[in-house]
Amino acid sequence: MSKITTIEQALEFVQENMTVMIGGFLGAGTPERLIDALVNKGTKNLTCIANDTAMPDKGIGKLVVSRQLKKAVVSHIGTNPETGRQMNTGELEVELIPQGTLAEQIRAGGAGLGGILTPTGLGTIVAEGKEVITVDGREFLLEKSLKADVALIKAHTADTAGNLIFYRSARNFNPLMAMAAKVVIVEAENIVEKGQIDPDQVMTPGIFVDWIIKG
């Protein structure tokens, strides 16, 4: 069964009230075609897990402007004033998480770990309400693992088996999110035949990928 599909068919898997992970860092490495189509489709009440909400006219920022998010779980919203505005009016719930913790929580979700033990955030409001675990006399914050219903991923090259290669800093959260969602949809700039990527060069193994659309 081919993993190559149309953008419309792929977005059938994104339904209201779902949790969606979206790759990218201030827009770099975000699947813009998928975002644009999702904005057109208008699916609402999404919880978005991502590094940031980018800019109002770029990447995840567009989903904020179109008011399709009910919650954003991110490390940074400073580049998108609309996110701050919706947060202040209560239209959008924003959960801010340290970037390294967020990355590791997503990895833990994909790796079947119960959470992570990190020193990051100890003694700050990030630690409020969370369990502190002492290991060999040193304190760590227990941060739970994160999973999603769908992940929207941007790759440089995909083969038809779903093996992915990312390019430069567009890699960022993409390989992690590809491990942590039930349905993984990839927007690939280039699609090649199975066997055309050397197994050592694969950055995300094809078993994680459900659907591929041409980016």
Partner: protein, 217 residues
């Protein structure tokens, strides 16, 4: 020399050859322009690579940005990785030094630089990981706010980025070391008096007996 240049030049003197360094946006990034002769550092960009080229280098493409989202380039010998590896490097103690700005910093080494409740909430990004993981944490900032209010306090009033994490504070007026006993005034900028530092600093501090003038030219 303007305040920012003073700070950036003094920060640059903290670089040691071979250091892996993460520089925050603004003044910290400026420091890379003043590397001492013979000193070469490896810049880490928390969005996922090592070998960030100076900002005036050639810019490759939109898929290679720094942590501020600006298009940048990567030096020969650089390496790209995902965000989990990027913060494994940061949290795991593999970054020798990080330089960040601050809204407030205090005499216990507490740092606040990520939010002003009810006003400014950009988020912490990678800052909390950086201050908890880097071997040396330097706050580099203008000594006071634009309206002249002190930013070096007895106790931070804003939500913290990290607790007891700062090692040095470098401003346009002076250099403080954060010690278990409190702040130690190591250097003052050319033409600045200790009284001037005292007037603009709420935190208590002790003057190091061998205090000297900031060695910048």
């Amino acid at each position: 020399m303007d305040a920012k240049t003073i700070i950036a030049k003094r920060v640059a003197q903290e670089f040691e050859d071979g250091y892996v360094v993460n520089l925050g946006i603004g003044i910290p990034t400026l420091a890379a322009d003043f590397l001492p002769t013979g000193i070469s550092v490896i810049l880490q960009s928390e969005n996922g690579f090592l070998g960030l080229a100076p900002l005036d280098g050639p810019v490759a493409d939109v898929d290679l940005v720094n942590a501020g989202g600006k298009a940048v380039s990567i030096i020969p010998g650089g390496a790209v990785f995902d965000s989990a590896m990027s913060f494994a490097i940061i949290r795991g103690g593999h970054v020798d030094m990080t330089v960040l700005g601050a809204l407030e910093v205090d005499q216990e080494g507490n740092l606040a630089n990520w939010m002003v409740p009810g006003k400014l909430v950009p988020g912490m990004g990678g800052a909390m990981d950086l201050v908890s993981g880097a071997k040396k944490v330097i706050v580099a900032m203008e000594h006071t706010t634009k309206d002249g209010s002190p930013k070096i306090l007895k106790k931070c009033t804003l939500p913290l980025t990290g607790k007891g994490v700062v090692n040095f504070i470098i401003t346009n007026l002076c250099v403080f070391e954060v010690t278990p006993a409190g702040l130690l005034l190591l250097e003052i900028a050319p033409g600045v008096t200790v009284d001037e530092v005292r007037t603009n600093t709420v935190a208590e501090f002790v003057i190091k007996p061998q205090m000297c003038t900031m060695p910048i030219v």
